[in-house]
Amino acid sequence: MMPGAVMMPAGPEKVTAARGAISLSHITRIFAGSIPAVDHIDLEIQAGEFFTLLGPSGCGKTTLLRMIAGFETPDEGRIVISGREMQDVPAHQRAVNTVFQSYALFPHLNVEQNIGFGLRMRGVRKPERKKRVDAMMELLQIGPFAARNAGQLSGGQRQRVALARALVNEPEVVLLDEPLSALDAKLRAELQIELLRMQKRLGMTFIFVTHDQHEALVMSDRIGVMSNGRLQQVGPVLDVYEKPRNVFVAEFLGLSNIWAIEPLGGGMAAAPIGVLKIAAVIGVARMAMIRPEKIWIYNDTHAPQGRENVFPGTVREAIYMGASTQYRIELGGGGFILALDTNNQAAERSWRPGEAVAVELKPENIMLVEA
């Protein structure tokens, strides 16, 4: 630990920060004898924002969340919540509530008592407590289970109770650690929408940790993609998906075709599949990528004439996924490309393995990424 780094007084500009805003600077956490779990993270989260930390398991996203909650102390850097420096504030004094992945419902208390626990610990009197707990149970439709024990609830009900237990305290920030990962797909989709609606309605800052890219895309105002303890990219969902900064982000968030390129000048670059025309300024970039859904597929006889980036190929694999079909196409010049086509016109617009096709990669759809 660097004493100098943690003794920094909060700047006066922080005092005016909005309730629920979070500012992380140089946050680092190193577990004994290991590489940093969280490595110099700088991040500003706006009040009332739904922010998602997305990354593979072990990338440090949960550790970062635990430091915001106060369960872990950063070895370096500082955390400011609502303008208040959190260095010497223990977890039980932070206006932050957590929804745990395991839900961590108290086994000796029933649903109502679980939800009221935080208010009780803060000394809220019983009539007031009951009023607020009842209102929260009403909001999340768990009233009928009020007297049940946590062990008698289904996964979805437990998730709701865990959420209610956090929200009833009206915290400035709600931290959610993969709260939906234990639920089946249909219930998860329902609760995603419900969670989002709840957040917009209550206007609290939500920090949501997940390894599920779909969940991140559906729910977030902004995403931070994490890997190896570092934030790879932070931005609005659309930006991060459409303009990934590097290969990791491109591959982690959605499907992609990525090639090493060699600039040839004049907006042209040599790639393993052939010479590509790229709309963006190539500069020093040495990697290019395109999303599979941005690739046009034609019957080889209908291939557009005189356009850039049209390559002949043969369908090698067609995976029908309901709304769309994913194709693996072997190109004439060597190499494979992944393309996605919506099944909006049924059978006549789908291709079978072995069919000759042509693909078009529009120059403006090719993105340049860092390695």
Binding site: A69, G70, F71, P90, A91, H92, Q93, V96, N97, T98, F100, Q101, S102, Y103, A104, L105, F106, P107, H108, F117, G118, R120, M121, R122, N149, A150, G151, G155, R158, R165, N169, A182, L183
Partner: protein, 279 residues
Amino acid sequence: MNAVPRRIRRVLAGISLPVYLLLYAPLSVIAIFSFAPSLGHPGPNLAAYGMLLNDPEVLAALRRSLTLAIGSAVLGTMLGTLMGFGLSRFRPAKGGGFWVGTLPSLIIYLPIIMPSLVFGISELIFFNFVHEYTGLLSAGLLTMGIAHVTFQAPYVALVVYARLAGLDPNLFEASQDLYANAVKSFVFLTIPVVRPALIGGFLLAITLSIDDFTISFFTAGPGSVTLPIYIYSAIARKGSSPEINALGSLMIATVIGVALLYYFVTRHRERSTRIPAVA
């Protein structure tokens, strides 16, 4: 069990019956013989129980046994609970290495596997040694109590540890997250969730103490004859008698009573506090 073929099930039942017989036949024999006819009391009767309850020596031994059991169980439970907490906090799975995790747990569990004869003799020698040099700890209920606490505490530690290790570690963080400081977290979360283990550990400690002969025998003094020691000397003097059988039966009944008490006290709580893993 449905997957087990019928024939195998029959064989297993055939094995288990003699095992139960072997376990419970001696106990029933004692119970039956406690009602046996004796001089002046023809036919099955309760005379032995009457004699027992009017025997000042037996009543004194009973009083000592209970004093010893309750006193040592209170202390043993308190110590064992602390040990259980320590074991749970520094268990290897939570980052406790050999020196703070594995080694202390081995040391704590050693009295459980140590033959009680060895344990008793070493206690005897130790107490004699201390008494010789300091004049303290002359053999009696106090030395017996200390010896009992040393073997009760590990059992209690085991029970408490098992309870704590079975809990979601996030529970404690959740309580902090919900504005409970260390004291409130202990009072409103830890105590309630380990309560079944505390009750169970306490009752276990009582039965261990009431039942102990070997260690008591070596640490007892002339004025501290407890029930097991009384029974041993009575049998040594005049062999088994209806009176001893009656005493044995009462002890069996007491132990069964304590076991049932534990079952009923914790049954509801256990059932309601076990949260199955989310599927």
